[in-house]
């Protein structure tokens, strides 16, 4: 079992936000959750194929951090990026169509689950190479710096990526050149079946990042409030020109790594324990406690989200296949 958070109590206490913001955060988490539950179902039905990596359990990280970004900022993510794309403003329709492989998808159907892209949202993917997004983020940030734009590049990655050389080289470049990057580490404690204790000699990732001279922040990634506060602070620092910031979000995936995972490497009990800290139900409980939410309201939100999901499925179903004649399109610029 993972050593950390084992006995930590679930997030609790008052939510210090206007009700509108609270409801938005809750809705955002639910949108990811319901979207992905539907994806899992559609995978079973053969509508979605290839690799599918669900974010279920980790929704507070995307939901709390993405609103800290401005439209002109950049987002770089991994293959576990449905939530990030969605909350960055890519429509659920375009995401679902992409997973179906339809031309109405956000990558014209060519990318699938692991390669969501959206130029208008400045969403730079979707990268199926672990650690592959980090150098890209360095470059995007370098461009903004040279262009003298106050633009944050937020780069999400899993803790598995920390062992890669790409992590090390990218941290050094970012700090050395004082680049405007917010490194958002989603530590869900496992890289496929490998727990952090079995892949890292140092399991405190903030210590690793601090060794580059980088300011670090660590936060409970199951608490959307904590995430949002820290993300705002990190982005403000970066935007103010103070160089990169490293944030570790401690979180957990409730589902298997991908649809091909027998989950031999962790106890059911561990998963159940983490589920007690589930970001959606703990947050709604807090909102209910303080009178910002009723069960009826919750159900209403959920119904609206489910309707959005259904519309996305319908949209994807109704989408068209890219004609085979377009196979070689966009390999090179015309």
């Amino acid at each position: 079992m993972s050593a950390r958070f084992e006995i930590a109590p679930p997030p609790s206490g008052p939510v210090p936000y206007p009700r509108e913001l609270s409801i938005k955060l809750l809705t955002d988490m639910l949108r990811i959750r319901r979207l992905e539950e539907k994806c899992a179902e559609l995978y079973g039905a053969g509508k979605i194929r290839g690799f599918l990596h669900l974010y279920i359990g980790e929704e507070a990280v995307a939901a709390g951090s993405l609103p800290a970004l401005a439209p002109e900022d950049n987002v770089v993510a991994t293959y576990r990026e449905h939530g990030h794309a969605l909350l960055r403003g890519v429509s659920m329709n375009a995401i679902m169509a992409e997973m179906f492989g339809k031309r109405e998808g956000c990558s014209r159907g060519r990318g699938g689950s692991m390669h969501l892209f959206d130029a208008a949202a400045r969403f730079f993917g979707g990268n199926a190479i672990v650690g592959g997004g980090l150098p890209l983020a360095v470059g995007l940030a370098l461009a903004s710096q040279m262009q003298k734009r106050k633009r944050v590049t937020a780069c999400y990655f899993g803790e598995g990526a920390v062992a890669e050389g790409a992590f090390h080289e990218s941290m050094n470049l970012a700090q050395l050149w004082h680049l405007p990057v917010a490194w958002f580490l989603e530590n869900n404690h496992y890289a496929m079946g490998t727990s952090v204790e079995r892949s890292e000699s140092q399991t405190d990732f903030c210590i690793k990042a601090a060794a580059f001279g980088m300011p670090t922040l660590k936060v409970d990634g199951m608490d959307v409030v904590a995430v949002h506060e820290v993300a705002k602070r990190a982005c403000a620092q970066v935007r103010a020109g103070e160089g990169p910031v490293f944030v570790e979000f401690n979180t957990y995936r409730f589902r298997a790594h991908s649809m091909f995972d027998a989950e031999l490497y962790r106890d059911k009990a561990e998963v159940e324990l983490w589920k007690t800290r589930g970001p959606i139900h703990t947050f709604s409980a807090r909102l209910k406690d303080q009178g910002d939410l009723t069960e009826e309201q919750f159900l209403e939100i959920d119904r609206a989200v489910m309707a959005e999901v259904q519309r996305a499925v319908d949209f994807a179903e109704a989408g068209a296949w890219e004609p085979v004649e377009h196979l070689l399109k966009d390999v090179y610029a015309p």
């Binding site: 159907g109 390669h115 199926a128 990526a161 296949w321 085979v324």
Partner: protein
Amino acid sequence: MTITYREALRQGLYDAFEKDERVFLMGEDVGKYGGTYAVSKGMLERYGPERVRDAPLSELAFVGAGIGAAIGGMRPIVEVMTVNFSMLALDQIVNTAAMLRHMSGGQFEAPVVIRMSTGAGRQLAAQHSNTLEAWYAHVPGLKVVAAATIDDAHGMVLAALDDPNPVVIFEYPALFELRGDVVHPSVDIATAKVMRPGNKVTLVTYGACLHKTLEAAEAVDGEVIDLRVLRPLDMAPVFESVRKTRRAIIVDEGWRSGSIAAEIMARIVEGAFYELDAPLARVCREEVPIPYPKHLEEAALPQVEKIVAAAKELLG
């Protein structure tokens, strides 16, 4: 009782572990996860974490460590989950494993076995569908083999461990459910093999394409050759076949330009030009990163119909 290609791979690993206790397996999720593709499932329980060693996501260092351990007297089998990630480890494979013997004047050897899965066909999209056999086959000092059959899935790892050179073994997830018997428990990693005799056209291939090619051969009386070894190439059966059929097509899942197919064509034109009655042809991957949707992925890859069509065109 038949077994699957996946089981054959696993059986080969078990046999290797039993035969030589210097043998160990190292790679991402080979142990506790049960192997990415369940190839090494059960091995951790049987042999323990020393010999079934889960590595962090550090392709460059753990492949290099496998090379170093081989130099140090062990017999490592390094699993790079897929050829796609092996790009991160190429420096160690080329600059150390392939060159060490020669540049040390023959003093050191690196008898490492590096297994990686390769190929497309499962809708994994651009970054997870590469076929880079041609890159590896370009490098002197490496032996490069491709397991297309149950026998080879089982036997190649054993043969590779018996070889004092670094050997890269390509495995094909597209074939994991293929069934058959282990007919020859021991195989060489030196020869190409005629898999179906035929008269009208020579069809040269390797890896997952073998099975599509065998199917296509039925329609055109093709003689099918499985290269098996991509470096160093064994051209003798190809030349022999071309002398008979006077025509050849190469079927290769790699991108057309710079493919293994191109090298085979070059060798044929160098060595058997006057035997040819028609141009050589090839059926390869289209020159595109593999798109996700099934219909586009299929269109990008060699298929039975394309092979048949190419053969018919050649046969005029």
